[in-house]
Subunit: 342 residues, 4 copies
């Protein structure tokens, strides 16, 4: 079988992980990555022995790379021409400009959450609306919080039917190593409803959603509390059953030692995962409570890596590699070793 | 009118503020405070000129105080004998032992949230169940989160009737200056339902409540998101109207510059309040959203001072100084200058 | 005696405290304060009953203030015309522009640390070079770290003579309530030597100084470690003796309960100081150690208020109210109640 | 060549990394690891496919492990009997008790920094006093801060001769994932001199050392500033030259993007190192400054992994695998891939 040729443009927190994720797919080929300067991420790649081909947005910067003896395989345009799909993880706004280039060469692309919805044909999630992405040219992926949230909401919705959700997002304010943003001894409140609730309704229009987002000065994973109203009453037992069957959801408990987002960050490092990453969201069993006809629970979202599987699902949709969400997500999961612990 | 004689036992974060609050009441006399050693709080009191009489739990420790030329007015027993009501803000568990002494001298007392409910005749809140405290001997006050939460919930309940609330408590993990507890770059999840939801149901048994609590590494105020279901639909406008009329609730907005809990901490300092304290909870106008027949909003709880007004309301109930919550809270508010900005 | 007329331009963290400090001086009159918009600091002033006259940089903004019923006394130009000295605590760069206005009306001014040195005739510290400021027109005050550091260094230098200092500044990255800057779970290193070491040499050219600065994610006070080399050996006992005699230095110890910068922040709040501020630096007795012929110790710098006394000293120098540092600082200290605890 | 048989007792933050480090040594065999219960670290090992044999301190706990289908290879005693050397990374105090067992079976051991010095024949560092450990029975390794500090101090001392150092340790207060300790918005000061300065003098008695330690609320690496006085003047150029030649020291710069300890934590993750660890200390080129005849610089200490190489050096000393520090450290480095980037 011919492998699908994929390029990653923008080698930041998300781009690095997309490249690693694509590299692990048996039916895809990572043609190369593309960035603008000799960042620490590029330096680390060089120190690892340069496993990926590197392309440059601006070839006039090549001499900067020469100083570090970093080989350049060509320009962004060169990369685009060789690919079937580009995963664009450039800073917000840049993707829209790059799209012109992708269109010029009839190359499909997936944009990350920072980009405007209008950049894409479909606002996409691998589980909730895979079929809408089939054969399209441009997808925009849900943001990290929304991606993880929809996994859990879609899981309950498929199993029992949902009418309404209300969420509280306790957002980590920066990633480990970020110096360009931060918060010190302060919680910050956003205007409600949060965009994640609105985004959820765009992807799952049959569900009424609202929510409040509070930023917290931590780096190891968002926590979302969800109150979900089923078409019929969803008990704790029913919720547990559905969550446990989902390959991209880990059920954890405080009693085992998973005390919060930092326990999960440490656990992923101890697993030996590259970069200490985790693809799965986690739900704490001992936070699931019933409230009248509603069910409430808390999710952990590993923001750096959570969108990787759904983005790869997106490649499958764009290229019609699998015709259903079930087949596509199972294939992605297999190559990313997701769910092997079950 | 004879002033009610009040003593404060335990001069920690809460005790200091109770003493200041009682001192401001025109119809109460602060007989004195009592503690165990030469803490920094006592040192600060001395540096301020020793405005309050100081009693000692253990008179054998007097020589420690002599070194700093701090005058001692007598023993804990001496203090108890002179008082009508003791406000016991000792560490959890100590209050239950002290109670024997209060009973011996027929002195009434109010315990803080850390003590077991069984220590008191009534688990008390100045607005939600003032009348139940009338003439009783022992009250236990709701904890800081519960006190602030009930203000908002009781406010909506009185105005429109409530059936159910679900809360997410984003808890500050330590007070400014605490070195005995702390959290570093981690969110911590508690088992659900949180005790604050259960406590709310004890005080307001007609309301169904549940909730999840997440600890965050900050010191300047808890934030609670509340989803409340009214007996009939409560609109944003209706919620605003009720909240705005409540003397112990400040309505604030992000647009004005109240970006989070730290903005409110700074604002209280800039107001020149003693210790930079704030008695009022704050609700962000721009977080109020409707969700079907429910209304959702975010509250700020200034944990160091929020229970002071309701504790003083408790003195009024115990001594039957006012016969209704309305009169009692209005009197407390007047002396604490609460609501003067309205 | 005619009081010196002082205006404060820029009512931010420093400006608010300058206004309060000037207001407390028996030989100065606070003519008014000036700012650009309805900030929370102005809102707090209004809620306190508007004790200071408010002037506006841009009178076209007056309608914003009308909405809050905040009275305006005139324009910046109106304020300048009424003053002998302006304390300019506007954001960095604005002071240089304002200087033209001050010159136009022959009004003296003191700029804060963010401004370029060239804006002033003298880079000023109330103890280290008071006499150089006598009768001048424009002073620039040392920044918060440098102001506190020089207090301690000048103290040892006067007593025993110093040749060299090397410092490590453990800098708090934001003030309580700051949302425009912050750091999350990260230390940040600056290029050496730090500007504070260079500034110290500008003020005290006979001392060789160098240093490294590390930013930390806290808000309650910088900590500086200092290694000082005397002309002859300075013992711990000698250092203690000199520090204890200095009115703007508090000697504290870990054994008493002063465990770090947050203990001092809490102590100042408990003292009932307005805004919970502290003017004094603190030095931990139990950090003073001898190293060969050098002495090492740790200082706490309360960054929000530490420059206030030296700025007021600056007014005294500009207006030649006192002819020596000793008289000037003693007068400032008296009005600010500094050293009363000794 | 017969491989040296090594066991790791205590599978916590350090023990896990010791096991991984020993596993990578071509001339050592990791017989197994030993712990007390089903911790998350053990769970992660199981999820990875149980690459190491697991022994139990208390065989009566075996049923807890059965629940997770985790195979047990025997008791602590079984493990000890099979080993030449035990790396004891149990909590402080436990190692001293375990020592009796090691003595019973004539097995050598290395204890970590928390244990009392008296537990060992030699207080050990792979570079500074390797030869003292040759053929001994029990070593105690320097703590993480001291291990990293001595690398840099020994490096300058060997090259140029040192008389004196004064250090400021800006200590990270917890590791990522720690919930049993933490600090929130506070710096904490320790009594001086810090134990690290005293420990340095124990290992390198010809150097006079003192220092102050300040705890900071971060998890990603200690930072130490060092002021070192050479027997003759050490210039920045000389320091750079020596540091650059050291295999366990990385020279980094702010200009490259290494802004602080979190940049290094991220970089190690991006390198794909297991658990995102780094064995090397880093020194910022742009913090090196001269101060009279002294040189000052800032070091980053990756506290989780920094002691691993020197502990493995200790195995080489105990078993006399290499006769000199140079040969031993080079062998350790080769197997840990240290210095390959140079």
């Amino acid at each position: 079988m011919k492998k699908i040729k994929v390029g990653v443009v923008g080698y930041g927190v998300i781009g690095q992980r997309l490249a690693d994720g694509v590299f692990m797919q048996g039916d895809m080929e990572l043609v190369g990555i593309c960035d603008v300067g000799v960042t620490l991420a590029i330096r680390a790649l060089k120190e690892k022995g340069m496993p990926y081909n590197l392309y440059l947005v601006d070839m006039s910067k090549k001499s900067d790379f020469d100083k570090y003896s970093i080989e350049i395989s060509g320009s962004l345009e060169d990369l685009v021409k060789k690919c079937d799909v580009i995963l664009d993880s450039t800073p917000a706004g840049v993707g829209a400009k790059n799209k012109l280039l992708y269109q010029k060469y009839n190359v499909k692309a997936i944009f990350q959450g920072g980009e405007d919805n209008s950049v894409a044909d479909v606002f996409f999630h691998g589980y909730a609306n895979y079929e809408k992405g089939l054969g399209k040219d441009f997808l925009k992926l849900t943001s990290c919080n929304t991606t993880g949230l929809i996994r859990a909401v879609d899981c309950l919705d498929r199993a029992y039917g949902l009418d309404k959700v209300a969420i509280t997002i306790i957002r980590r304010v920066a990633d480990p190593g970020d110096y360009h943003r931060g918060l010190t001894n302060a919680l910050r409140v956003d205007k409600a409803p949060s965009h994640q609730a609105l985004d959820l309704m765009t992807i799952m229009p049959h569900i009424d959603a609202t929510g409040i987002l509070v930023h917290t000065p931590v780096t190891h994973g968002h926590i979302i509390t969800v109150i979900a109203k089923g078409k019929k009453k969803i008990t704790k037992k029913m919720a547990l059953e559905a969550f446990r069957a989902h390959p991209r959801i880990r059920m954890v408990s405080i009693d085992e030692g998973f005390l919060g987002n930092a326990s999960l960050f440490r656990y992923a490092r101890d697993l030996g995962n590259p970069r200490g990453d985790m693809y799965e969201i986690a739900i704490w069993e001992d936070t699931i409570v019933e409230s009248g006809d509603e069910v409430m629970f808390a999710i952990n979202i590993p923001q750096e890596a959570v969108t990787i599987p759904e983005t790869i699902d997106g490649v499958r949709a764009l290229m019609e590699m699998q015709s259903s969400s079930k087949e596509a997500t199972e294939t992605t999961n297999k190559y990313l070793h997701i769910g092997k612990w079950k």
